[in-house]
Symmetry: C2
Subunit: 215 residues, 2 copies
């Protein structure tokens, strides 16, 4: 329940942006718990870091702006983590598998954030097109497999779209019903890679070193 190492004193001059970051971090924590953007209250965020509710307005126009900023940061961090996971190998298939699995693991560790990012009603009210970068990189990863002859040639955008839909579907189901006895994610992802992308069946990513935490 402890918040931060700094005991939240008033910031030095020019360091006012530090509060902004603390607010975003607190919002992310709460959003992960609540798993619903509408349920996040400005006052709860302020309470988390021990500031007055009104101080949030110094950095964010309104609640939606705060949530949007938090999600944008969340997406950026996730993007970085996925890119890092891809670096474990030079094999395009292993890369694609690593990408996909890290996304699944991340969703498992941060179900609330996954829900807010992809399933919140904020998607309707606001433009969240920054998310498209994640999709585009998946398409690139799929195309790499095709170019290397490790997957049948085809429209990488369509295959990537199908793969993303399938993976999002299974992640969504797991995230929304955490108590359900789901089968292992890895096996299902491998089936999707084989059946939807067409990678050879005998290409597991060897070791499972995906368990490093996020951030």
């Amino acid at each position: 329940m402890d918040v931060t190492s700094s005991p939240r004193g008033r910031n030095r001059r020019g360091q006012g942006e530090r509060l902004r970051e603390d607010i975003v971090a607190a919002a992310l924590r709460l959003l992960d718990e609540l798993a619903d953007d509408q349920a996040l209250s400005l006052r709860a965020v302020a309470r988390e870091i021990g500031i007055a509710a009104t101080s949030v307005y110094i950095h964010f126009a309104d609640r939606d702006a705060l949530v949007l900023a938090a999600l944008e940061r969340c997406h950026r961090d996730l993007l970085h983590a996925v890119d890092e996971a891809e670096a474990v190998s030079a094999d395009p298939v292993v890369k694609l598998r690593a990408r996909t699995l890290l996304l699944g693991r991340w969703a498992h560790q941060h179900p609330g954030l996954y829900k807010v990012l992809h399933e919140s009603t904020l998607n309707r009210r606001n433009d969240m097109s920054f998310k498209e970068e994640l999709s585009e990189r998946t398409t690139i990863a799929v195309r790499r497999c095709m170019d290397a002859g490790l997957a049948p040639a085809g429209d990488a955008a369509v295959v990537s779209f199908d793969l993303r839909a399938a993976v999002h579907g299974t992640v969504s189901m797991r995230v929304n019903q955490p108590d359900h006895p789901w089968p292992p994610l890895e096996e299902q992802v491998d089936r999707f890679l084989i059946k939807l992308v067409g990678v050879p069946p005998e290409s597991p990513g060897s070791g499972d070193q995906w368990n490093r935490g996020w951030r």
Copy 2:
């Protein structure tokens, strides 16, 4: 915006259950608009049908009980609609395709309800195992295809699970970002049926008479 044919007078003796149905119907309308169970307020439901907010408590213990009852009814109606769609043909593949497409169409027409049913945080707080019947019937439909030799033999439960995940994923993406220029659902569903279930590529369900309304 009009509500019902009866101008909401006090019910006759023994007809008190009519109000309960009206409440559920109003809750479903609002849930479809709001697309969030937490955003539904008892008072808004009461306002919709012109009753006092407290009258809801006569029929439902609390708000969650109302939402749960509404979703249960929603699921029952959906189940019925899907079963009806399956009856258009005797061909197991056509049946499976009809099932899947109707579900997609329904989600497209009732995005809010789809979200509340499958993605609301109520799934965490309450037992909604009544939804499993929909999954089981999909497995049955898949098994029918296998038994008829129209799909490669295999574990129908696993194939059905993969198909449901994929379809839920694509429907979820479309429902959560309605303004995105998505490709046709039919084509993607057909790809899933071919690649995940293994039905022959040349088996379209002929005509598109799926456009009948729901309820």
